[in-house]
């Protein structure tokens, strides 16, 4: 049924670190103030795993939340299994919501079998955060738009310094006479980081983006991008070793001023805004042949089993509306999916670092989405392990590519796509 039970609050399931959850609480408070009588209950999971476990048990147990927030890379399994309520009719009927107000690439990512299942809350993309102060100190030119992968590697090499400030190559094994005090670059060896590089080089991640059946990285373009990524550690020694990462992950390393550049999404901004000791900014991703970004987007999805759909929809309308978007954008965490809001000071506020937030907006026209096959989470976990080993242990490229292919095939085979 879709009749709203009076009084029952809308249950919204999200995950995030304590500060992020704080942002959602602000949103809900604002909503409840703006719409007296409406009530929203925030169900907090601490990370994606928790959220998945809760969502799955509650759906199976017959008491799902009304709305949940989910990344497009992971919503496939819910979409495929009919858990998510299609929203086309409601969108059509809505006087508040106009799909045209939003970046199409994000909206598109949440279409499944031709139906709009969820409403994207943000459209973030990858960027290169860099420590301006360090660049200034060592006299290395800052990254500029249109820089190439080779520029990135070169810059990173120049920025990898020991504690005396001398350029050093961090490839020696643990226990070498000198260790880098500053690393040139931090990048996670995952598909989502690799993908834009491959695409930029003209390659593909999967055989068929619409109906993927395997990871296909054997094309020369993909191989090159992959090899370059892997070489960062053992050939160039510009990224921290695995032990160093365990000791201090890249984000903290950047925060502590010991990482010159970090390739990550908009998500890190909130955290970096706490930095006081140095100045930082963002630069676009380096390019091989053409500028390509990768889509990061989370969306509000309504569960099919919700007993409170109308109220849930009203909340979604609010959260997706300008005001809702602005509140979330103010946390710095997201790039709003609402075109207007994303161009407003709520996002581009020059007083808040990064000064160059425009980089994220500039990337939007170039972003591509990863496949949304329902078994994608498994595939990502699998490839992460393989890539991590490749980077830190130096596995042979052919083996890596073959392993990625063979091991992911059964997962693709089990998957369903929209």
């Amino acid at each position: 049924g879709s009749g709203s039970k009076a009084g029952a609050p809308v249950k919204l399931l999200v995950f995030g670190a304590p500060e992020e959850l704080g942002a959602y609480r602000t949103l809900i408070d604002a909503y409840q103030t703006a719409r007296p009588g409406e009530r929203v209950q925030l169900i907090e999971a601490s990370d994606r795993k928790d959220l998945l476990a809760r969502l799955a048990t509650s759906v199976a147990g017959g008491a799902p939340p009304d709305v949940f927030l989910m990344n497009y890379r992971f919503y496939g399994q819910f979409a495929a299994k009919g858990v998510v309520e299609p929203l086309d009719d409601r969108i059509a009927a809505s006087s508040v919501l106009d799909p045209a107000d939003y970046y199409p690439v994000a909206m598109e990512a949440f279409r499944w079998d031709g139906a709009q299942l969820c409403l994207p809350q943000n459209v973030s993309s990858l960027a290169v955060y860099y420590n301006r102060t360090l660049f200034t100190r060592f006299g290395v030119p800052e990254p500029v738009a249109g820089w190439t992968w080779n520029d990135l590697v070169g810059t990173a090499t120049l920025m990898t310094r020991d504690d005396r400030g001398l350029v050093i190559k961090g490839t020696e094994a643990e226990g070498a006479a000198r260790l880098p005090a500053v690393h040139g670059l931090g990048v996670e060896p995952s598909i989502i980081r690799l993908a834009p590089l491959v695409w930029s080089n003209g390659g593909e991640i999967v055989d068929d983006p619409q109906q993927p059946t395997r990871l296909a990285l054997e094309s020369p373009e993909a191989r090159e991008a992959l090899r370059n990524l892997i070489d960062l550690r053992l050939a160039y020694g510009v990224v921290p070793s695995d032990a160093e990462v365990e000791a201090e992950d890249d984000e903290s390393r950047f925060l502590n001023g010991r990482l010159a550049m970090l390739m990550t999404s908009r998500r890190a901004t909130t955290n970096f805004r706490t930095v006081t000791g140095f100045e930082w900014d963002v630069a676009p991703l380096p390019v091989y042949r053409q500028q390509v970004g990768v889509l990061h987007s989370d969306a509000y999805c309504m569960t099919r089993g919700s007993r409170n759909k109308d109220a849930a929809w009203r909340f979604m309308e609010y959260a997706m509306g300008e005001e809702g978007q602005r509140i979330i954008a103010a946390t710095g965490r997201t790039v709003p999916s609402h075109v207007e809001v994303s161009r407003s000071p709520a996002f581009l506020d020059p007083d808040q670092p990064p000064r160059n937030s425009q980089v994220f907006l500039d990337a939007i026209p170039t972003v591509r989405a990863l496949p949304t096959v329902s078994t994608w989470p498994e595939i990502e976990d699998l490839s992460y392990g393989i890539l991590e080993n490749a980077v830190h242990r130096g596995d042979k490229l052919d083996d890596v590519i073959r392993e990625l292919d063979t091991k992911s095939r059964p997962m693709f085979a089990r998957g369903e796509d929209g």
Binding site: A60, E174, A247, D381, H392
Partner: protein, 289 residues
Amino acid sequence: MLTPYLVGLLVLVLLPALVTLGMAFTDYDLLRPPSWAGLDNFTALVDDPIFRVALLNSVVFALVAVPLRVLLALGLALLLHRRAPGVGTARTVALLPTAVPEIAYGLLWLWLFNPLYGPINQLLRVGGEHGLTALGRTPPQWLTDPTSARAGIILMSLFTVGETFVVLLAARRALPRDVYEMAAVEDATGWDVFRRITLPLMAPVLALLAVRDAVASLHFTFVPAFVVTDGGPPPYATTYLSLFVYQTGFEYLRYGYAAAATLVMMLLTLAAVLVQWRLIRRYRRFYQL
């Protein structure tokens, strides 16, 4: 008197377990109604390399950690069951790690194990140069080297023997005293007393705890693997069955498949318990009063 327990046992454990195990024969993703799959899940398990690794990890863990844990707890209980200066403190202290909530405990070790800044390696590096130990070796790379990571999880589990320790201590202290006096008069050596009196008299409790530990080894690998190592170092060095089940069931939504793995896991523990039972059988006569 038994009723509340029986109700709890049936409603909270046995029936739910039965339902879940029933799912082992279905294709169930938690989201759509289950559909009958026969033995498909099991055949898939046989071919699943991750499952095999997880199984192996779990078995190795159980084989190493369980005897160590029980022996450690027994040693502590026997060492600390009588009064001497410091014993009271030692008893409390031996329980402390058990008192730390599981999740906090996991994260504490995440820090302790930190290869560069973790206190353990910092300690190991004392006296050495350039990040090496005094012996000129590289300290263990707890979180990045598969063997060290496995050893680390075993080490973690060794500090939480408080439960076993408490039960054994209570059991030891409940043993009749005149029997020990008798043994003292007979000049039985410590070893004889242990082997001929303490061990057989505590056999039922020990057997129970060993069985429990073997069974629970599947559980207490979960939080460390979940929180500390996340199943890594890659690919699956510390992916234990418990984590495998959790991941396939709740992250990849292959509940039926996870149930099948659970069933296999339970059958294995059952087998382990039966084997243990056989081993302890020679003490079984002591069970009858």
